[in-house]
């Protein structure tokens, strides 16, 4: 069988393409409110949130804009803003 590679996928970042293009609303973080509790990191279904040292960082290339981080944020630090 010459086509085995067509059946196999290995763990990698964004294997289904740049899913950030699907986004309608974009989560925007207010750095002054974020206390790095990392609840949003825990709940993000796409694993696009990481810690930037003083504030969380969102990878917008793959964030689909579901808004779960904004809903879960205890500090109301994440606002969903309509994409232009």
């Amino acid at each position: 069988m010459q086509v085995v590679e067509c059946l196999i996928s290995k763990p990698s970042k964004g294997s289904a393409g740049k899913t950030g293009l699907w986004r309608t609303y974009k989560p925007v973080v207010d750095e002054s409110k974020c206390n790095l509790c990392m609840l949003c990191w825990l709940y993000c279904p796409e694993s696009v949130i990481s810690s930037g040292g003083s504030c969380i960082v969102i990878d917008y290339e793959y964030c689909k804009g579901c808004g779960i981080c904004s809903e879960i944020c205890a500090k109301k630090a994440i606002e969903m803003v309509l994409e232009e």
Partner: protein, 370 residues
């Protein structure tokens, strides 16, 4: 070793001799005895395999899909409604190019509820990419199952060994079983299609449309190559056991002007019917299909210049018998009759009558024989 056993017992013996490592199945008449027998073998330690009890046929095929992907020799068995319940996995296994063997004991699809033989169930697998074989007798059910493991592993395609409900599954016949050493010599250890060392990977995840296209094209081409692989494997088996179990069998066909084409247990009755007509001087013979996929293309040459009658124990509504349709696509002078659907008994007497009408040119096309 010559002994007496039913088709179901013989298939269980074949699975044991093939040193199958994983078996998963859900009971359905008339297949149940195969896996009951295998469960006993696993329980007694006679067969060193994992026996997975599952809650449905869908899970049965899904389980052996997993074990076969992981590189284990795997087996399941089903019939009729069970096959239809696992239909999604039937395609999944073929499209993922997973080698495993499934015994399909052909049984009518209801309603009305009916446990007797009909070939429509196994032929629902026709376009999926499975290798599809059909036995005439208990010996062939055994031989095809053993060969199935080798064929499927060489082609990376799943294999189904079909046999008729009750006529084979529950009928005792004399069978010649090879010993373990002979089978070991014939059947090497299971080959693994997916080898990536210790890396994690997923089989059958999402992919670009072009991947699907490439895979289907490859399966199509593999199915064409499968004719040669089946012939090669059956020759190897013949060298060890003296029995040929290739793509098809010719019976009194050399000088025949009339040729019957069919598959399954009733081919044995057809041979008796042909003997009777031969005694009356009618030049008639039989081409028994052992395989539907791959469809042996060279039967076109074998049947050239003959009047052909294809006998179907199955049908495609409003069009004809399924084998009839297949043969009409590449063989000339084909007539087609549907008979025995729903397990209606068709014996030597009926076949003599049918073949006589065919020879006299009085047989109606896609005639529903009652």
């Amino acid at each position: 070793m010559r002994t007496i056993m039913t088709g179901n017992q013989a298939v269980a013996e074949a699975v044991k001799l093939a040193k199958t490592e994983v078996i998963a199945a859900y009971p359905i008449t008339p297949q149940t005895v195969i896996v009951e027998k295998l469960a006993e073998m696993v329980d007694s330690g006679e067969l060193d395999a994992e026996f997975i009890r599952v809650e449905s046929e869908h899970s049965a095929l899904a389980s052996v899909y997993g074990s076969a992907v992981a590189g284990k020799r795997s087996f399941t068995a089903t019939s009729s409604h069970g096959l239809l319940y696992m239909y999604e996995m039937v395609w999944w296994v073929a499209n993922a190019r997973v080698p495993l063997v499934m015994s399909v004991v052909t049984r009518t699809i209801g309603p009305p509820w009916n446990i007797h033989t009909d070939h429509t169930d196994i032929l629902t697998m026709r376009d999926s990419g499975w290798i599809i074989s059909m036995a005439e007798n208990v010996q062939e059910a055994f031989d095809l199952t053993i060969q199935g493991f080798k064929i499927c592993e060489e082609l990376s395609l799943p294999f189904t060994a079909g046999m008729d409900a009750f006529q084979l599954s529950h009928t005792s016949e004399v069978v010649d079983l090879p010993d373990q050493e002979t089978v070991d010599e014939f059947l090497p250890e299971r080959k693994q299609s997916y080898v990536f060392g210790d890396e994690d990977f997923t089989v059958g995840s999402i992919g670009p449309n072009e991947y699907t296209f490439k895979l289907r094209k490859d399966t199509f081409e593999t199915m064409l190559k499968a004719e040669k692989v089946v012939e090669k494997v059956s020759r190897e088996y013949e060298e060890l056991t003296g029995r040929n179990c290739g793509l098809f069998e010719e019976y009194k066909l050399d000088d025949a002007e009339y040729a019957i084409v069919m598959m399954g247990a009733w081919s044995g009755d057809a041979k008796d019917a042909i003997d009777e007509l031969r005694r009356e001087g009618i030049p008639i013979g039989l081409l028994k299909l052992r395989y539907v996929r791959p469809m042996p293309r060279k039967i076109k040459r074998v049947l050239e210049g003959k009047e052909v009658l294809v006998l179907d124990r199955d049908c495609s509504m409003g069009v004809g018998g399924i084998l009839g349709l297949e043969l009409k696509s590449f063989v000339d002078n084909v007539s087609n009759v549907i008979a025995g659907v729903g397990g209606v008994d068709v014996g030597v007497e009926e076949l003599v009558k049918m073949f006589s009408l065919f020879v006299e040119g009085k047989l109606e096309e896609t005639w529903w024989f009652v």
